[in-house]
Symmetry: C2
Subunit: 302 residues, 2 copies
Amino acid sequence: MDNLNDEEIFNDRDRIEPFVKAITRNKHLFKDKVVLDLNSGMGLLSVLASQSGAKQVYAMKANCYATEIIKQNNIQNVTLKKENIKEVELNCKVDIIISAWMGNMLFYGGSIQEVIYARDKYLNKDGFIMPDRGQLYLQSIEDTQYRDQKMNFWNSVYGVNMKWMKQWVAKEPLIESIKDDQLNSDEQLIYEVNLQTCKLEDLSFSNQYQLKIKRQDYVTGVIVWMKYSFTYTHLPIHVIMGPTKSPFWKPVILYFREELPVNKGDKLQGSLAVKFESEELLHIKLSVHLQQQNYISYFKLN
Amino acid sequence: MDNLNDEEIFNDRDRIEPFVKAITRNKHLFKDKVVLDLNSGMGLLSVLASQSGAKQVYAMKANCYATEIIKQNNIQNVTLKKENIKEVELNCKVDIIISAWMGNMLFYGGSIQEVIYARDKYLNKDGFIMPDRGQLYLQSIEDTQYRDQKMNFWNSVYGVNMKWMKQWVAKEPLIESIKDDQLNSDEQLIYEVNLQTCKLEDLSFSNQYQLKIKRQDYVTGVIVWMKYSFTYTHLPIHVIMGPTKSPFWKPVILYFREELPVNKGDKLQGSLAVKFESEELLHIKLSVHLQQQNYISYFKLN
């Protein structure tokens, strides 16, 4: 018996509802179409796709409850597979791929590689992916108190000198929401991906940013948060995992080496480079320039 | 590089402090002793044991930071091993075994089997384990609203009939704290283990309980919470992971098949049987008798 873990459905409405909406309010897209659900679990989205008019649904990574749920709902055209898409061979092309491929920083802890594999092998040329777009936004923050507390902790851990750990702690991005009043710049789009066309190498990037400081303050670092979108639906559905309210995928906090004093109207410039090695390993390089100061910091998510 | 996950130390003071206290306030126990730390990580407890007078410390499951931390603290007599105790061969006996072996329901998600292995193979006959005792307590609760909400959810999950899931949901214990005012009986000790002497078969048990109801109410089920103790210390240290406040190991909630109306002074009788198959699999059988009503429920933690 699979581990039930019904919390995935029970508690994570914020994560599932955009998918439910994208399917049930867009029956015109599903009519007579072949659908591939890359992570079907109990089969919820596969059943909804079938009920929305799909001709055939292939449901990967189905759990042990899915068979009975499909049956109880009198669904005939959902084919359940326990395996993931790389482990099976489908004998036809598909029109729609459904996948919650998102992770932190869009790709970390997600399943983007599976989507690209499935798309290149099975998606019809006028087929589409749900959701099909992802964006990363960057914004500067003041977080001195928490950062100091976190760093100073290592000076003496129950009497043991662990100062040496600080250099490693500084390289670990924090995955955490922050408070509204900690944001002290405007937000800036730093990266965009289109799943319909992206290649694996597009998941790594190096882009410039310029943030406009909103008040006299200190900048401890930046926060990176994401947005993903279903753009093939009748009305586009945008899901914003913002810096302060992120029910499921939390934003990533990257601290500078030192905090920077800033004034209202200052322009904080720099670049963010992310190297995608796999869904379990991201290298991040953050540079910042302000007046005569230049810092480069390196981080790793793994 | 190991995943840093410094939160283990940074955030879980409640889990670590009893160990720190047990070591640093009991230097008389450590003087010239050989210590085995079964899960050393960064080496914190091993360093403290050495500083408390231990002659030699064997530190299992050390991470990549431990070597440098040992060095920075000028510790010479800690031997670091990346492996767990079953994967190495020590060439001497030990006087003290340190291990945070506890999990939910004492053993689930813990590492009790490793402790028993290490004890039988390496512990001197007058040696001891830290902590060396564990207890489970049982108390009845009223939790109708949450239970109903959780169960009724499956009637229609975004329009999909998943009623069939209820039978499985009912068999999954909840691992969750509750509110003080939900407790409606006295507490009862239902199981005790002494790590100095226990065998693997002692980790399974079937014991009777009799709870005295405190008010006119409904009983939805019982909550099982734990206590563990260091009894070889100068003053015994008891750590209570209570039903309402459990920073690290949350209590386990077991629902009856139906809620029972109870009156002040009623005696709720029954038995709790736990079959320990491994640290990843516990079978639980809960029976309850009240007047003419008898229910038996089966649960599985895996």
